[in-house]
């Protein structure tokens, strides 16, 4: 069973600083990591391989420095890493990214399952995975929380929905985006790290892929970011005191009035 895992390198955001003028994130000195939600997809890929054999290929699109994310994926146990990188791809939105990744997946060829995280922690759109399924005309399962059973032509999975779980039987090949519930990502081992160091990455640029260049990069992206603003945290609370019982009723009335004006009750 051959598996492709799509991963993204994102800035580590636990201690993020925002530029007050541009509204964008200050990236200087911020570490780049594998999108935490993609780690679950990697783990699922590795478990499927352990059960059914085959190989796991990690794929990412990004600047050359994104190779670090692929090396980490290999250290976790992936067999190969494919880096899709080209200046022409810079500024690609979700649509354009999905288009480019689809071309890369076509070029890789043999695969039974394409796995992706539910969404990336930086853009937070969750669109690229489903969009690729559309581009490649693959059956799509989003928010997958469990894999019940799989053989060479079909897979039975469970999706996490707001109201509960949904069971799907899907033909393969298929694309699945997974949620945290599905697994516990393993840590990279020393042997894995050593193997990753020796493993040469496969690099695709615009020339290697069959693409209409008008559909890639900033030019090919229908999304336009007009303005970025960080929401301001405002605390417009009021203090009501009721030091003895006589003031209690008055304070309660004021509180009710306040909640009404805020349309909370």
């Amino acid at each position: 069973m051959d598996i492709i895992v799509l991963i993204k390198q994102v800035p580590e955001t636990s201690n993020v600083k925002m530029d007050p003028n541009t509204g964008t994130m200050v990236r200087d000195g911020v570490e780049s990591i594998i999108n935490p939600l993609d780690l679950y997809a990697i783990e699922v890929g590795l478990q499927l391989k352990e059960e059914h054999g085959g190989k796991v290929t990690a794929v990412t699109m990004g600047p050359p420095s994104a190779s670090k994310a692929l090396k980490e994926a290999i250290a976790m146990g992936c067999d190969e890493g494919v880096l899709i990188t080209d200046r022409k791809f810079a500024g690609s939105d979700t649509w354009s990214t999905a288009y480019i990744l689809s071309a890369a997946i076509k070029k890789i060829g043999n695969y039974d399952i394409v796995l992706a995280g539910e969404r990336a922690t930086d853009g937070d759109t969750g669109q690229v995975g489903p969009n690729i399924a559309a581009c490649l005309d693959l059956p799509l399962g989003t928010y997958i929380s469990r894999i019940d059973k799989t053989d060479c032509d079909k897979i039975i999975v469970e999706r996490l929905l707001e109201e509960g779980y949904e069971k799907l039987e899907m033909p393969l090949p298929a694309l699945l985006t997974v949620v945290k519930e599905i697994s516990f990502p393993r840590l990279p081992t020393l042997r894995g790290k050593q193997r990753a160091k020796k493993t040469e990455l496969i690099v695709f640029s615009a020339e290697n892929l069959e693409l209409d260049e008008n559909l890639t990069g900033l030019r090919g992206s229908p999304t336009r970011v007009v303005k970025i603003e960080s929401p301001k945290v405002m605390r417009n609370g009021i203090m009501l005191s009721a030091k003895d019982e006589d003031q209690l009723e008055d304070a309660v009335n004021k509180l009710v009035e306040f909640l009404k004006t805020k349309e909370i009750i």
Binding site: E12, I33, F184, L187, P188, L190
Partner: protein, 470 residues
Amino acid sequence: MKYNTLNAEIIKELENILGSKNIMLDEEKIENYSHDETPKEFAHMPEVVVTPTDAKQVSEIMKLANKHLIPVTPRAAGSGLSGGAIPIYGGILLSMEKLNKVIETDYENMMIVVEPGLVTNEINRLVEDKGLFFAGYPMSLLSCCIGGNIAENAGGGKAIKYGVTGQYVMGLEVVLPTGEIVELGGKNVKDVTGYDLKSLIIGSEGTLGVVTKAIIKLSPKPKYATDLLVLFEDVNSAIKIVPIIISKGGIVPTSIEFMDKLSVHTTCDYLNEHLPYQKAGAMLLIEVDGTREDIVEADAETIGELCLENGAIEVYVADNHTTQERVWNVRRNIAEAFMVYSPEQSLEDIVVPIANIPLLMPEIEKISAKYGIKMPTYGHAGDGNLHTTLVKNPDMTMEEWFETEDKVLKELYEVVYSLGGKLSGEHGIGIKRRDYLKNHVSETELMLMKKIKRAFDPNNIMNPGKIFSL
């Protein structure tokens, strides 16, 4: 020692020195100053809490207290683990909370001059942009204060490479119990001008004087760090590797943290952490850091290989924020995990020469089995400092627990001393270990300590009853 209690007249005098806004008498407020991080049975209420704003006020308070024989207990964050900041004779609680300023940043000399009530991490936050840090911080740096670190000569997880607080204290301003203000040490890297009195103050647990200003040495901050989480089948193979890393590997790691089977399993269960820990009888968390990524990586690899050659089951590598948080999370949550089992605990701080840790571990197991209580052991294997924790069996009554705790501690300390160890590596003696100390220190050493105490504090008003009873 018979102390006087506070009366209206003395309180009036305190008001004259400090102004009424720096004095607290309200029982509800001063209750917060009656305990530190030791169990509540050690707590004791002060009679008054004062919050001086400069050394002059501290000096006046000390003169007043000395004249009227009122005990004075200095306190910074109150995050200590030995009861050092608890006013066991009541009296005046001298809180350094308003002495919390940075007085000078001297980047040419790579030093910072601070007041004792400053939260330790504030130093690191302030100098971070200059690529510097204060390397002698303890693990509680987000909540503790530098004054407490100096009083306890605190250490932490990185002591094997960076040492403890005292190594970074260049100079001190100290108010003596008799009220004089004295400057000790300074900004000179070398200084053998007379007795090293500054070092006597460091680690004296607030019994010799009150630190009102400290000159702290800063160091270049390492840019890269890699952590190895290493699983071993048993304690012995985990501990044996420690001296090998340094002698054979030629590398001084930033930390070597040890967790025994009980600590690992309980904490992983508590955190729902699915590392394949079931087969592990012990775990080491080893960190290397440095200014060049390739060297840090190579050092980590050398250490990892040594571990594998010496019987490690698996070596995991964490070199980014996600994985590093995950591995350290296990180490940081041990105490928390056992709180779920029983909140009654005695957190110990024993230290033995590193080569003797393998001999210590089976003895701890024996004591644990004999008294039927859990005794998870974890801590800083790199420097032999282990936080064996006595956890009350939930079936025990409190009386049974106190009785068992006392017996277990006595036996544990006997074992520790027979292996060339000591009672406390970084938490101090305070009140928690005071009555055990006298069994293990020679008469001559105790006499010297008492003479020093009397030389500084003839009336024994400065944090009395800590370390030893005079």
